[in-house]
C-alpha cells in the first residue's frame, strides 16, 4: 500500500534562511509525488510534482523538491524563506491506476511551516 510520511509536525525558519520540509514515501511501482500548500482557511494549492525526468523539480513561489529514489524521499526546499510562506504543507503520492483506484492522492499528515521575521 502507498504511504507518505512527513516526520516533522512543525518547521521553524528565520526569514531569508533556506527551508526544508521533509517527506518520505512508500509505493509499489513508479512514484508520482506532489507537494501542496494550505494557507489558513483555504483550500490546497498545487506547488509541484515529480512524475519522471530530472530529480530536481521546480514549482510555484520559488519552491523546489528533490526526488531521491535510494532514500525514497521527496523533500521540499526553498533557498530563502519568506514570512508569507508560513502555511501547512502536504506531501502526497498518487495511487497507480488499477481497479479500485482512480489516481487518488494519499497525503502525509502535513507540516506546519512557520517563518519568523
Amino acid at each position: 500500500a502507498q504511504s507518505v510520511a512527513q516526520p516533522e509536525d512543525q518547521v521553524n525558519v528565520a526569514e531569508g534562511n533556506p527551508l526544508t520540509v521533509k517527506c518520505t514515501y512508500s509505493v509499489s511501482g513508479n512514484p508520482y509525488l506532489f507537494w501542496y500548500v494550505q494557507y489558513p482557511n483555504r483550500g490546497l494549492q498545487f506547488l509541484l510534482k515529480y512524475i519522471t525526468g530530472d530529480n530536481l523539480v521546480k514549482g510555484s513561489y520559488g519552491f523546489e523538491a528533490e526526488f531521491n529514489k535510494s532514500q525514497t524521499s521527496f523533500h521540499l526546499k526553498k533557498p530563502s524563506a519568506l514570512v508569507s510562506d508560513s502555511a501547512l504543507y502536504f506531501c502526497a503520492v498518487r495511487e497507480p491506476n488499477y481497479q479500485g483506484s482512480q489516481g487518488n492522492l494519499i497525503f502525509g499528515k502535513g507540516t506546519k511551516l512557520s517563518v519568523k521575521p
Binding site: 482512480q102 489516481g103 492522492l105 502535513g110
Partner: protein, 116 residues
C-alpha cells in the same frame, strides 16, 4: 473564473439532518474527488468519480453519497448527520487518469461542516 468551487463555504446543522454540498469545476476535467479533512488536518479520500464510475473508500459510511449530474459537478449528500461528521470537506478535480502530465489535482476552497 474560479477553477473548482464549492457551496456553501460554511454549514452548521443539527444531528440527524440531511445536507448537501455542491461542487463545480470549470477546468474541463474528467475526474472529480471528495476529501475529508479532520480537526487534526489529516486529509483522506472519500470518493472519486470518472466517466460515471464511482470509487468509494470503504471506510466512508453509506450515509454519504456523491451525485454527479454531469462531468463538471460532483455533489456530496449526507444523511442523518452525526457529530463526528464535523470536518472540512474538499472537492478536487484532475484532468486525466492516463496522461502522466495531468495527474495533479486542483482543490476547491472547502466547506466547513459543523454538526451540533
Amino acid at each position: 473564473d474560479t477553477a473548482v468551487s464549492q457551496t456553501p463555504k460554511y454549514l452548521v446543522t443539527q444531528m440527524g439532518n440531511d445536507k448537501s454540498i455542491k461542487c463545480e469545476q470549470n477546468l474541463g476535467h474528467d475526474t472529480m474527488y471528495w476529501y475529508k479533512q479532520d480537526s487534526k488536518k489529516f486529509l483522506k479520500i472519500m470518493f472519486s468519480y470518472n466517466n460515471k464510475e464511482l470509487i468509494i473508500n470503504e471506510t466512508v459510511p453509506n450515509r454519504f453519497s456523491p451525485k454527479s449530474p454531469d462531468k463538471a459537478h460532483l455533489n456530496l449528500h449526507i444523511n442523518s448527520l452525526e457529530l463526528g461528521d464535523s470536518a472540512v470537506y474538499f472537492c478536487a478535480s484532475s484532468q486525466d487518469l492516463w496522461q502522466r502530465d495531468s495527474y495533479e489535482q486542483y482543490f476547491g476552497p472547502g466547506t466547513r461542516l459543523t454538526v451540533t
